[in-house]
């Protein structure tokens, strides 16, 4: 009985899996098409990859895109995590609600509005459009996502631990370092992950605030693909996909290693027993 329902679940997962991957595999498949279109596969060729390798502009844009994504999500994670802790420990309920509301404004604003208002901001500040305007914008719109990912973890945190640590004479920094951060770590990682995804995925905000020749992949693909699909772009998606797949496998491997190690540790950890007993 149990086994059977399990296989239904797997079937459903596989179906979703196929649905999510069809467009990507489609792009990859046609990146080898000799015909140069995405309609009829006439023969195998690697020429689109050659064209990509020769396209220094696209390669530079790809590198820039990843740099913006990595850096913006890092800064957003640091600022957002501290912000979440700040919001959580605010005593007055009213202030907390207000802060949360402000935090969510960027989240609820359509990205077109974010882009437009940031453009207004940079215009008034006389800020030069380019790498830094894009980086700051990405940090700005990623912060609320990080807060959203970290807050639930804070709510779950055992507050008695904090009180206990303080009773034992720990200062705020020690509490933050040894108790709060470790217990919200999964939230922080998830926050970084989401921020990275948002940054890589963003088109609208970057479209508004970029300039002086700086571009991210979205903006470049938008301007290229409107002129008809070029299979060079397909070749690029294949490479990006393989890269992402590699990163994910690496991440998974590391996680598995840690898990087995942790399991061994918790087996002999005496506090583990206590935790299980306490309500």
């Amino acid at each position: 009985m149990k086994k059977k329902s399990f296989s239904w679940a797997n079937l459903y997962l596989i179906l979703i899996f196929v649905l999510l991957y069809t467009p990507i595999l489609y792009l990859i498949f046609y990146s080898f098409n000799a015909a140069g279109t995405m309609n009829a596969f006439t023969g195998f060729t690697g020429e689109h990859y050659q064209a990509l390798a020769d396209d220094t502009r696209l390669i530079r844009i790809a590198l820039d895109t990843f740099r913006v994504a990595l850096l913006s999500s890092l800064f957003a994670t640091v600022i957002g995590t501290l912000g979440a802790i700040g919001i959580f420990f605010v005593k007055q309920r009213k202030t907390q609600t207000t802060l949360l509301g402000l935090n969510n404004v960027l989240l609820v604003s359509p990205d077109v509005i974010i882009g437009a208002s940031f453009l207004l901001l940079f215009t008034i500040a006389g800020f030069r459009l380019g790498f830094f305007s894009v980086l700051f914008s990405h940090i700005a719109f990623s912060i609320p996502i990080v807060v959203l990912m970290v807050l639930p973890k804070l709510e779950e945190m055992n507050l008695n631990m904090v009180t206990a640590a303080k009773d034992l004479g720990a200062n705020n920094w020690q509490v933050l370092k040894s108790i709060i951060i470790p217990s919200i770590k999964p939230g922080i990682l998830a926050g970084y992950f989401m921020a990275f995804t948002y940054s890589i995925d963003d088109f609208a905000v970057t479209f508004f605030v970029t300039g002086n020749g700086f571009a991210t992949l979205s903006v470049e693909i938008y301007s290229r693909a409107r002129q008809g699909i070029s299979l060079e772009i397909n070749a690029l998606s294949t490479i990006l996909f393989i890269l992402a797949l590699g990163l994910v496998s690496g991440y998974y491997y590391v996680q598995q290693q840690q898990r087995t190690r942790r399991r061994k540790l918790t087996d002999i950890d005496p506090t583990n027993h206590q935790k299980a007993v306490s309500p």
Binding site: T56, L63, R67, L70, I181, A215
Partner: protein
């Protein structure tokens, strides 16, 4: 905690490597010179080989960025945080930008080869005496159709678009002035009508066109028409030339009622930082052989008389792309409408797009 800090360090390290990587890529482009020329142009509007040639000849490094509408370009230039040395807007936008002091006044003594340009394209109303802009390309708006789906010769005028036979078949260019213009010209009015009643009349007429419209897009029309996704589309002449090159079943016509005549000119924005390079580029593009190669590659009509002599005869004798004097009389140039009427055109067009719902 320690782990998180390590992770952050790794991320910073990788970002540093990416930065070094992009510097390295820049250097491998061969032109490491810091003397750059920033060009802001329409997508797919120059032969990339010419940019390379320009870099080789002059030693300037070209940074090339594209826009998809005059308005998007205007926003970026007006914002002030950019430093484009060359931009290539259309005539009505140039008019507006000159009014707002966004365009650098050209030093005529630094320009060589202006006499290559056909006098018809000089000294036009939007820029008398070419004090601010130099002609780049010109063209018209018309209808392109696929003879596999529509009988050859069946389309002659704008009013043919209303044929109920073409339900859900037409791809329109996504532009307020273009589409409102179709309504106005079908009724025999001017493209620059500033009369509420006539505009409303044009809108009512367009309302009955809605069922025939498949999509309102822009550059994508090229790809879709080549692939045969739609039987007919309203598009610009140069785009049409490109499509016909790729797909022999396609035909471009200039509608009987008349059409829009437009010019794209090179300007130096007021925010430019490398004027020397900008003048070098303008002079380079004015050369007959360069203009001819560009026109051959892009498919738009060149205003460069000396270059026309270098183009294949069948190209310059095609009346759909180089219209006869008589046809030219039916063509009308957009004027700067001013905020009030531009707003009205835009509002009506937005309403037209809403109609598309049903």
């Amino acid at each position: 905690m320690k782990q998180l800090i390590q992770l952050a360090a790794v991320i910073l390290g990788v970002s540093g490597l990416l930065y070094i990587g992009s510097l390295y890529v820049d250097r491998s482009e061969g032109s490491a010179g810091s003397d750059t020329l920033n060009i802001f142009n329409w997508g797919d509007y120059i032969d990339p080989a010419l940019l390379e040639q320009f870099e080789e000849e002059t030693g300037y490094r070209v940074v090339y960025e594209t826009f998809d509408s005059n308005e998007a370009m205007y926003t970026k230039v007006q914002q002030g945080g950019t430093a484009y040395d060359i931009a290539i807007p259309s005539e009505y936008m140039i008019d507006r930008m000159i009014d707002e002091g966004l365009v650098h006044k050209l030093d005529q003594s630094k320009i060589e080869g202006l006499d290559n340009i056909d006098a018809d394209f000089l000294d036009l109303s939007f820029d008398p005496g070419n004090q601010y802009s130099i002609p780049y390309f010109w063209g018209t708006l018309g209808i392109i159709y696929n003879d596999e789906m529509i009988e050859e010769g069946a389309i002659q005028s704008w009013s043919d678009l209303w044929n109920p036979q073409y339900k859900d078949d037409i791809m329109l260019i996504d532009g307020a002035r273009e589409i409102m213009g179709i309504g106005l010209q079908t009724l025999g009015y001017s493209l620059n009508t500033q009369d509420d009643e006539r505009l409303q009349e044009a809108f009512d007429l367009l309302e009955s066109l809605a069922p025939n419209v498949k999509a309102l897009v822009a550059d994508e029309i090229k790809m879709y028409m080549i692939q045969g996704e739609a039987p007919l589309a309203v598009t610009f002449s140069g785009e049409a030339a490109d499509m016909m090159w790729e797909n022999e079943s396609l035909h471009y016509i200039l509608p009987e009622e008349g059409s829009n005549l437009w010019f794209d000119n090179m300007i130096i924005p007021e925010t430019a930082q490398n004027e020397e390079a900008a003048y070098a580029f303008i002079n380079f593009m004015l050369r007959p052989e360069v203009a001819a190669q560009n026109a051959d590659y892009i498919g738009y009509s060149t205003p460069n008389e000396a270059a026309m002599a270098l183009l294949p005869e069948e190209t310059i004798e095609d009346p759909q792309f180089y219209p006869t004097e008589e046809m030219m009389e039916n063509l009308e140039v957009y004027e700067n409408l001013g905020y009030e009427y531009l707003g009205k055109y835009n509002d009506l067009f937005l309403e037209f797009k809403m109609l598309r719902r049903e």
